[in-house]
């Protein structure tokens, strides 16, 4: 698998740049994705989304459906796109260190 380097740390990623393992996630990873996504600053709202995603994933072994993410954080889908220009999956889940969902989705 390809590797990316950030701040002297090396991460293994898949073809779309998602981290290989949820447990290898660190604050440096957040900064790496921030740069990749072109996000100016990781603010409290970003952090709220990331915390929610990670807590949900820890409990359920899967990312939450988008509507659950919206409801729990109180952010409308449009606002999530403002926070993460690539969207809840390719932006937010990537920053939170979650794998991509697969199947009929």
């Amino acid at each position: 698998m390809p590797e990316v380097e950030f701040n002297g740390k090396t991460f293994t990623v898949d073809e779309d740049g998602f981290i290989d393992n949820y447990e290898n996630w660190t604050e440096d990873w957040v900064q790496h994705v921030k740069k990749e996504e072109g996000i100016d600053e990781v603010n409290d709202e970003h952090k709220k989304v990331i915390t929610m995603l990670r807590e949900y994933y820890e409990k359920n072994g899967i990312a939450p459906m988008v509507r659950v993410l919206s409801k729990v954080t109180g952010f409308k889908l449009k606002h999530i796109y403002e926070l993460f220009p690539s969207g809840p999956g390719k932006g937010a889940c990537k920053m939170a260190g979650l794998p991509k969902p697969t199947g009929c989705v």
Binding site: V68, K78, T102, C104
Partner: protein, 555 residues
């Protein structure tokens, strides 16, 4: 995706006279980004115990094949010619009349001659002639034969995963050749060398481990349905109480896990839940969900016969364990090809279940006599026909609806009239797309058979063009703003397809519309539908702000 031009520019570049003048065999295949899916992850191939799990990249020269790969393919080819009479016949009887050539959505959308179904089949057939027929051995290239080389293998892989196994071409074949079965054989052969795509391998592995493609564990599955329970109560004022793994229930309900997770399929899922609640309250019908058999879809169909059989078995094992009478299946596409065309001799006969009878109407579902699984659209149509559902179609008056016949229910089981009957009973504005692209001639969504990943978005948007074009026609002519469909892949892939070609049209499952029209005992006065859209203001087609798709290319 960001590299894709705007739709009208893309459209103007599609040409159908791309040949250089050289024979197809002398035209090299170039594997291009945007047109293929990533390679299967080794962990997923390993879970299933399938051969040669490894990391490989279609764009690299070295695909890390086993040394004896030619021998493996030759033997695999021979085995399948012996095991599957249809495969042998399909290899032999094509006269290359070309009736199928312009019927494929991928050929129409890409203009690539190797996407003509006849040429796609010739990719395999040329090797068949070379290896297994005297004529091919003697005449060689003159007789349409060629040796299996590394380039040929790569060409197989590229084009076997540019076919959605939709079988539109088969409808036009005077010999009745089922090109989807040729693609299936091609994919089986490629799987012998570990050459699957990840969008198929990982869902299959998830399904094998946890019971569904998404990998939703039992507690999470319940959690998701509980979320819908709250949402339904908010909109309707009614508390629905889905049952899970209930022994002794009358019927087991199974739908694709995409409905539980991905929008807008989630609204279809809420639709099922409302209908099942209604039937329980009104008629005492006892229907259960399962957190073990929590997937109706079967990506095994896109891998091999053996894998398909393994995944299909769990639904029947669960039905047996729970002691239900029969199984009710949700709005899934390819699930119905597996059930209707293979189940009987694959995991069947399921004679521990009863021949399905609708306990409310007494209707015998003769067509499900052997499989013991009834399609929910047929079930609902039967309930409506007998006046068992209290419906107010005016609640869907803000919608102008067209119907996309999902390939497999249409061509794989002949379900053509039931969905239309249901739609006409739950809404007042229904418009058909042109007749040569509906019913058994329906155009594929362009993303079926496991090609609904995001890295192949260009392929998907090109392949979906013929369908989108027909939707645009009814949008322009009648103001259609909603396309109904009965397949979870459809519901997942149409939103970005519409976004690209016809952004004014949204996507719904049938049972979302059924539930919106249904008058539920004890409901509060309804002002919004399941998406939170205002149903009282007929002029305004409102949108749920939680659901509104912002302008973005793809997903």
């Amino acid at each position: 995706m960001s590299k894709l031009p705007k739709s009208d520019e893309y459209f103007s570049k599609i040409k159908h006279d791309k040949t250089s003048g050289a024979e197809w065999m002398d035209t090299p295949t170039v594997i291009r980004e945007g047109m293929f899916c990533y390679a299967a992850k080794p962990a997923s191939v390993e879970t299933l115990g399938l051969p040669f799990p490894r990391e490989w990249n279609p764009l690299h020269e070295d695909w890390k094949l086993p040394e004896n790969w030619k021998e493996i393919i030759h033997k695999g080819f021979r085995d399948r010619l012996e095991r599957f009479r249809s495969f042998k016949v399909f290899m032999d009887i094509c006269v290359r009349c070309g009736a199928c050539s312009d019927k494929c959505h991928f050929f129409i959308g890409t203009g690539d001659p190797k996407n003509m179904p006849v040429v796609r089949a010739e990719l395999l057939r040329s090797v068949y002639r070379n290896d297994f027929t005297k004529v091919g051995k003697i005449l060689g290239k003159l007789g349409g034969a060629r040796e299996l080389t590394l380039d040929v293998l790569k060409e197989w892989w590229y084009y076997m995963f540019q076919c959605t196994e939709c079988r539109r071409c088969s409808v036009f074949c005077p010999y009745g050749i089922d090109t989807a079965e040729i693609t299936m054989m091609g994919r089986e052969l490629l799987n012998l060398l570990g050459l699957n795509i990840d969008w198929i391998a990982t869902p299959v592995s998830n399904c094998y481990k946890t019971g569904n493609h998404m990998g939703i564990q039992p507690h999470a599955f319940k959690d998701m349905l509980d979320f819908f329970v709250d949402e339904i109560e908010e909109v309707t004022g009614v508390l629905v109480e889905p049952q899970f793994n209930k022994k002794g229930a009358d019927i087991l309900f199974i739908t694709p896990s995409g409905d539980v997770f991905g929008d807008p399929g989630t609204y279809t899922c809420m639709g099922y839940m409302i209908l099942l609640h209604y039937l329980k309250v009104k008629y005492g019908l006892n229907i259960t969900w399962s957190t073990y058999a929590s997937e109706g879809g079967n990506f095994g169909l896109f891998t091999s016969n053996e894998v398909m059989k393994r995944l299909n078995a769990k639904m029947y094992a669960e039905a047996k364990r729970l002691g239900v009478k029969w199984i009710l299946g949700g709005e899934c596409g390819h699930m119905w090809r597996v059930i209707n065309q293979y189940m009987g001799t694959m995991n069947g006969p399921a004679d521990f279940l009863e021949e399905p009878v609708n306990p409310i109407t007494g209707t015998k579902f003769e067509n499900a006599k052997s499989t013991k699984m009834v399609h929910i659209v047929e079930f609902t149509a039967d309930l409506i026909k007998h006046g068992k559902l209290d419906l107010d179609p005016a609640r869907n008056d803000h919608l102008k609806v067209t119907f996309h016949d999902s390939c497999n229910p249409a061509r794989g089981m002949g379900m053509l009239d039931e969905p239309r009957y249901v739609i006409k009973n739950v809404c007042n504005n229904f418009y058909e797309m042109p007749r040569n692209c509906i019913r058994e001639q329906t155009f594929c969504c362009g993303s079926g058979s496991g090609l609904n990943a995001s890295e192949d978005m260009e392929l998907r948007l090109a392949g979906g063009l013929p369908r989108a074009n027909a939707v645009k026609y009814v949008h322009d002519k009648h103001g259609v703003n909603m396309m109904a469909c009965i397949c979870a892949i459809d519901r997942a892939v149409f939103p970005p397809l519409m976004e690209y070609w016809v952004p004014e049209v949204d996507v719904t499952g049938l049972h979302e519309m059924v539930a919106n029209a249904l008058i539920i005992p004890g409901e509060k006065e309804k002002t919004v539908d399941l998406r939170g859209e205002d149903i009282l203001d007929k002029e305004k087609v409102g949108t749920d702000e939680f659901y509104t798709r912002p302008s973005f290319s793809g997903r």
